[in-house]
């Protein structure tokens, strides 16, 4: 008998005890379905985050922090920060100085470095409309500008320009993104006093809408010139500017080795640099960990299912002992018997894998709809889950391998049956 014949015999034997086969396949299905779902979700989320970062993040940029803030070097065993005379440490945070900016700028590969100042505006308003809370972020001189749905990204030095996030267009009373272009908006801000609720002074600043940013899940703030950002921060702090970190630009033609040596140079200087790629990698690490954790659950389910396969096949061997005896008497070799039972186990794995993956794909649209209504509300696409063919085939192949492993013991037992004992069995 050829291998294919054994496989055919084995898989057709599955039909002999339909309910038992069904239950065993279902057990596998639970595991493979979970695996397929976890894969689809994490692939989808990974793809989604990549897309988000591609659209809004800026390659060849990085954020630079003082290691004192991120690492434990200057903290005591009980997490108390050591006093550093060159930096003020009133709030526990160490701030960047002009010397830091100069030092970062000097590192090979760094093309520019700008202190990041926080501005906390009170509101944004179009004409005499309602006032809304807003966050302000700075637009630094970089080679690449993020995507916009309307208008043109302004010159970072243009202190009167503002880029509004999409969510603010209708909110502020504009008919459309195009309608908002060139219109004036007012941002109100004030300098807070030391006492709670005390306001020392306030002012309003006018901006011209230069562009509208594409819609995104985590709605970023409105973007203004970095120069204006510094001016407003200075107003709010009465000239006592504080930068927690730096925004730096890097050479776009940098090789990964150069990036690594640039980062280690910065590290040696007491800075920790997070490049654009680092941030993506950070997200991916988190997703990988979540995926691994969820897959472990699927693994446990599959392990239980493997025991089910063993049990099913041991029962089949017992039931068909006489048949095995006859086949041996008629001249089938032990390895032939082994192949028949093993292919039965592999078939169970195969069908369990196909059913699990199939079910996961089938209910994908439903899960997508639920996700889009809850966690991923406002997501621009129509589906989140992704089913890469290679991953799905890998899951099915894995289920077959599991069957192969689980089937070995029962198949060996069948192969070793003594023909006479088997024939006398009833």
């Amino acid at each position: 008998m050829k291998l294919l014949e054994y496989a055919k015999t084995g898989s057709s034997n599955l039909a002999r005890s339909k309910s038992r086969t069904f239950l065993t396949v279902t057990a596998i299905l639970v595991g493979t379905f979970t695996l397929a779902m976890v894969t689809a979700l994490s692939q989808g989320v990974r793809h989604y985050i990549d897309a988000q970062i591609q659209a809004y993040g800026q390659p060849n940029t990085m954020s630079v922090q003082l290691k004192a803030n991120t690492k434990d070097e200057r903290r005591s065993a009980n997490n108390v920060l050591e006093y550093d005379p060159t930096h003020s440490a009133a709030t526990g945070t160490v701030y960047m100085t002009d010397a830091d900016v100069a030092a970062v700028k000097k590192a090979a590969g760094v093309t520019g470095a700008y202190p990041v100042y926080k501005v906390n505006p009170d509101y944004i308003q179009a004409g005499s409309g309602k006032k809304y809370v807003v966050q302000l972020q700075a637009n630094y001189p970089t080679a690449n500008n993020p995507e916009v749905t309307a208008g043109k990204y302004p010159d970072p030095a243009d202190k009167t320009a503002i880029v509004l996030p999409y969510a603010y267009i209708q909110t502020l009373g504009f008919a459309s993104a195009a309608d908002a272009l060139g219109k004036t908006v007012t941002v109100g801000l004030s300098q807070a006093g030391d006492k709670p609720g005390q306001v020392l002074r306030s002012e309003t600043v006018q901006f011209k809408v230069a562009a509208v940013a594409s819609d995104t899940l985590h709605a970023p703030g409105a973007t203004i010139s970095y120069l204006e950002q510094a001016d407003l921060a200075s107003y709010q702090t009465a000239g006592k500017l504080k930068a927690e970190g730096l925004f730096a630009t890097t050479d776009p033609n940098q090789t990964s080795a150069q990036t690594a040596s640039m980062k280690s140079a910065l590290d040696a200087g007491g800075y920790s640099a997070q490049t654009f790629a680092d941030e993506t990698a950070h997200f991916n690490t988190v997703i990988n960990m979540v995926q691994l954790g969820l897959s472990a659950f699927a693994g446990v389910a599959l392990l239980a299912a493997a025991l089910g396969i063993i049990n099913t096949l041991l029962m089949a061997v017992l039931e068909r002992t006489q048949e095995v005896g006859l086949l041996k008497a008629l001249g089938m070799r032990p390895r032939g018997i082994f192949a028949i039972f093993l292919s039965e186990a592999v078939s169970i794995g195969f069908w369990g894998g196909v059913a699990g993956v199939g079910l996961a794909i089938a209910i994908g649209p439903l899960i997508d709809r639920i996700l889009l209504k809850s966690v991923f509300k406002g997501f621009p696409g129509t589906h989140i889950l992704l089913y890469p063919a290679t991953d799905m085939i890998f899951i099915i192949a894995g289920a077959m391998a599991l069957g192969l492993l689980a089937g070995t013991l029962p198949a060996l037992r069948a192969a070793r049956l003594d023909p006479i004992t088997a024939l006398r069995h009833d």
Binding site: M1, K2, E5, R16, Q322, E323, G325, L326, L327, K328, A329, L330, G331, M332, R333, P334, G336, D418, P419, I420, L423
Partner: protein
């Protein structure tokens, strides 16, 4: 006899171990020539089936030897024994042992399928074998649909299909009424004569034993 097809030398078979040990064969010396028909008779539990199983390489002796065409079965690998049973031996059992899920034709073709012969060729030869037992009209039926006599005739066709040198039959008429038994016996001996197939038949049936060239009587694991 030097040209013996089957030959045993001081064959012993003990079942079980220590306190449950039972010596079913106690030194059997036997020689069967090609084309001979031999009846093995004796009381129930005397060791007839045990002897037949050892001769057919279905079981291994505790001591002594079985030679088939001069080759010691004890020196053969599992694979060699399998192919010996597949090509040189045919088996007929009291309980028929037909596969209920298979058709009559598929049951008959089973040894050929095991021998890796193509489906078309297997079916052709199985049909020929069914002609010999006059059951061609039942070829497509399920094996379970047949009467006892018909089942045993299918089993004979299956034993025949690979063109064996020896057919081993363990009480082939044991589950059949006298009338049907006679039909089966006649069939078996026709084949034996026409094709010069060696017959080794374990039986309680005196009529069947009489038809054989030689009768071997077993008592308490020994030849009398």
């Amino acid at each position: 006899m030097t040209n013996a097809l089957l030959q045993t030398n001081q064959l012993h078979k003990t079942y079980g171990k220590r306190d449950t040990a039972y010596e079913a064969l106690r030194g059997v010396d036997l020689s069967i020539a090609p084309g001979e028909s031999v009846a093995i008779v004796g009381k129930s539990g005397s060791g007839k089936s045990t002897l037949m199983h050892l001769l057919a390489g279905l079981d291994t002796a505790t001591s002594g030897s079985v030679k088939v065409g001069g080759h010691d079965l004890g020196h053969m690998s599992e694979g060699e024994l399998s192919s010996l049973r597949n090509t040189k031996f045919g088996f007929i059992f009291q309980q028929f042992f037909l596969q209920p899920r298979l058709t009559v034709l598929e049951n008959v073709a089973l040894p050929l399928k095991i021998a890796n012969i193509s489906v078309a060729e297997s079916n052709r030869r199985a049909m020929e074998a069914l002609e010999q037992v006059e059951l061609t009209d039942k070829a497509k039926n399920r094996a379970t649909d047949l009467s006892g006599g018909q089942k045993q005739r299918v089993a004979i066709a299956r034993a025949l299909v690979a063109g064996p040198e020896v057919i081993f039959a363990d009480e082939p008429t044991g589950n059949l009424d006298t009338q049907t038994g006679h039909t089966v016996i006649k069939l078996l001996f026709d084949l034996h004569r026409k094709r010069h197939i060696t017959l080794v038949v374990v039986t309680h049936d005196a009529d069947l034993a009489k038809l054989c060239d030689r009768t071997i009587i077993i008592k308490d694991g020994k030849i009398q």
